[in-house]
Symmetry: C2
Subunit: 222 residues, 2 copies
């Protein structure tokens, strides 16, 4: 792998998606921080991941300390938690890349595509944080189920949207470090589709009784 190594904060990293991402990124050589509301919870989840890794590669902190310490942050919180958390981290995230994994949805109707007035959770995040933070949409369509076994290559592509080419390159590199392909899916306004696809995939999981439907882009060179 020739992609850069980062200090990565996974904000809200104790949920469904965070530990699987942390495990794979730590294995790929990144320094990974699990951020949580309580430092103890972040530390506990980091210890669980380290036990699986067989090495103390991941640490736990509060979200604020994690955001301060990182080069690149990934946000994996439920939609309702996004704006309050980002408001509290607005200052410490300035100058950084924020990879937003959050999906705008209206529980309990999570299989129904929801477009908020701002267009998407990612567009909301960019508006809230201002131009000093480069928000990128990515990893929304990678189900937690697919991350479970780090020896298994991911059976899905990662669509990446954003208004900064450099920030998209960071996310595309991190997709490769998960063992799959990151694809430039255009400007941040296109995050509507990437987020909405998550609801479509949840519905497909239910209707077709599968644990982790995903998407691949066809027609690209291998």
């Amino acid at each position: 792998m020739s992609n850069p190594r980062y200090t990565l904060a996974i904000l809200g990293g104790t949920g469904n998606e965070g530990p699987g991402l942390a495990l794979r990124w730590a294995k790929a050589g990144h320094k990974v921080i699990i951020g949580s509301r309580q430092a103890e919870k972040g530390e506990r989840v980091a210890a669980e991941i380290n036990a699986r890794l067989g090495a103390a590669l991941v640490v736990g902190m509060t979200n604020e300390d994690a955001a301060r310490a990182c080069d690149v942050a990934a946000l994996t919180v439920p939609y309702a938690a996004q704006n309050p958390l980002l408001e509290s981290l607005q200052d410490v995230l300035q100058g950084k890349v924020l990879i937003n994994v959050t999906v705008a949805m209206q529980p309990p109707k999570v299989a129904r595509v929801y477009i908020p007035p701002e267009g998407s959770a990612c567009e909301q995040a960019q508006a809230l944080l201002g131009p000093g933070v480069q928000v990128v949409a990515a990893f929304q369509n990678v189900g937690a189920h697919n991350l479970e076994d780090p020896e298994q290559p991911l059976n899905c592509d990662v669509l990446v949207c954003g208004d900064s080419k450099e920030a998209k390159a960071v996310a595309i590199g991190l997709a490769e470090d998960l063992g799959t392909r990151g694809i430039d899916a255009g400007p941040l306004v296109n995050a509507k589709v990437v987020e909405g696809l998550t609801s479509v995939l949840i519905g497909i999981n239910i209707r077709y009784k599968v644990p982790g439907a995903g998407i691949r882009i066809t027609g690209l060179p291998e």
Copy 2:
């Protein structure tokens, strides 16, 4: 194939997408009508398709005559043409399934996802036509390039959204008749994502210099 055979009208069928769909559906045993604003244009395109088929299987008519004669209609017009055409066909389409291939977009920015106030072209069509017409979103992500050679299986899935299970089954059968898989992607509100994916794929075609990117759903049984 055990799917039903229909009399299919392809409304606005003389554009990029219509002839490729017509060719494959005619080969699969459907009676296909190319609808156009001018009957002569529909007849000319039908004759071109028949020449490729080596048999007179496709006919051309005005959109109105085609809509009147069909069991199932597919709409393949540019977004700006959708509402005027559907207003003129509102009466003759009552009681039928309308498969809407149209994508809401704002030329010239066709690689930028556009969500109209009504949510999507398909939701607009359903609102305009009323509950007597079953509108289904499908085939928006099948690039014309991929339809060209009818001997080649399609290298993409067809996402199908709608509020009627029966109407979705019609579209899923027609996807199978194209040589691919139709997937139930949920209610018609989810058409936002299926339409928006077209803009994402157009952008991918441009950025990755490929003629016809498409999507596949992973994680389903073969």
